[in-house]
Amino acid sequence: MDLATLVQILDSSLRLATPLLFACLAGLFSERAGIFDIGLEGKMLAAAFLSAAIAAVTGDVWLGLGAGILASVALALVHGVASITFRGNQLISGVAINFLAAGLTVVIAQNWFQQGGRTPALSGDARFQRIDLPFAQAVADVPVLGQLYSVLLSGHTILVYVGLLCVPLTWWVLNRTRFGLRLRAVGENPAAVDTAGVSVVGLRFAAVVICGVLCGLAGAYLSTGLSAGFGKDMSAGRGFIALAALIFAKWRPWQALGAVLLFGFLEAVATRFPNLEVAGVAVPVQLMQALPYILTVVILAGFVGKAIPPRAGGEPYVKER
């Protein structure tokens, strides 16, 4: 394998890691506040559908992005109402949201566009265009560093850079602001936050809404950045991979970036070498496609060590009377 191939693989792993990154950070905000969210998948799917649909109808990708975020936040609020206001089971609510999104998107898409549950293919302004960083062309001939800059860093859609910026932003919000301190406290010991006179319900709803916005970005990137248009079940388990990455990263933003890059790399390798030959024996395509998931199990079972979730996670807070 030469350097160019390696850079290309890294490039596509960065692209594939971006939706995982958004979803992972979304889960991080929600779970650090004590709301377990296995509905990431459903929210991404809803956002992917609505952003592709609105972008296809209006031809403006930014309107699509806004609509996708709205769809995702709406589902997040359903999760919030069920698990915060009515103290329901957060896992059941998450499963319900996944089902709801998987069903509704296809039904609405079929009714709207009559294309078998897909949206029309997007083109031109209806998609996020790649952005070339300054001097990318000029330094492309410089060995190693120039290649890294012009192929790996430059030429992505804007959402990739937004995603990368979200990592330090998340770290700063969680660890350096008053809101972040309270958010983490509400996930560890909501009674203490309540005693201090801060609204547990308000904080948790804020976290759930942030989670919705980030999931909306993830979904919009899936359908308008990574591919051109929505297809049935296009999130393909990414919400669950993001949850796995979140556990792998032990609910911390920088480690989350590392974890999603690893999963993105595995996916990129699997798509780049569909029929790999190892020592003269052809590895079946299906095995290569299953590889990221197999390695997910191996990593989670073997290398994570002790991952301790936020202590109040999954439990509704009932104020003492």
Partner: protein, 110 residues
């Protein structure tokens, strides 16, 4: 865990050796996921799980028939299943809380 694995295996054997008599691609059709929902809906009680499973079986078969005889897409069943899970599983307190309050008021008067 071992018993759980064995039961999951039984389910797949039913599909492969009973219904289709051969291994088809994606033979279990997402039954595992629906299974989670059924288990949660049955409140982890064997009889409750049985009732929930019957309900979802009805919905599934009904959806297949609908898709066959009308132009209603099959995914509508997924939506209905989702709403059933949402309102019975996650939002049950939405109904329970006002009713409890009613009863408390009634008892206060009586």
């Amino acid at each position: 865990m071992l018993i759980s694995g064995a039961l999951a295996g039984l389910m797949a054997i039913n599909n492969v050796m009973g219904e289709a008599s051969r291994l088809v691609l994606n033979a279990v059709e997402g039954a595992g996921f629906i299974g989670i929902a059924v288990a949660l809906m049955g409140r982890s009680h064997p009889f409750g799980v049985f009732l929930a499973a019957i309900l979802f079986g009805f919905l599934y078969q009904g959806g297949a028939e609908l898709a066959l005889w009308t132009s209603i897409p099959r995914e509508l069943i997924v939506v209905i299943q989702a709403l059933v899970i949402l309102f019975t599983g996650a939002l049950d307190n939405m109904v329970r809380m006002p009713i409890e309050r009613l009863f408390r008021i009634a008892r206060g008067r009586g």
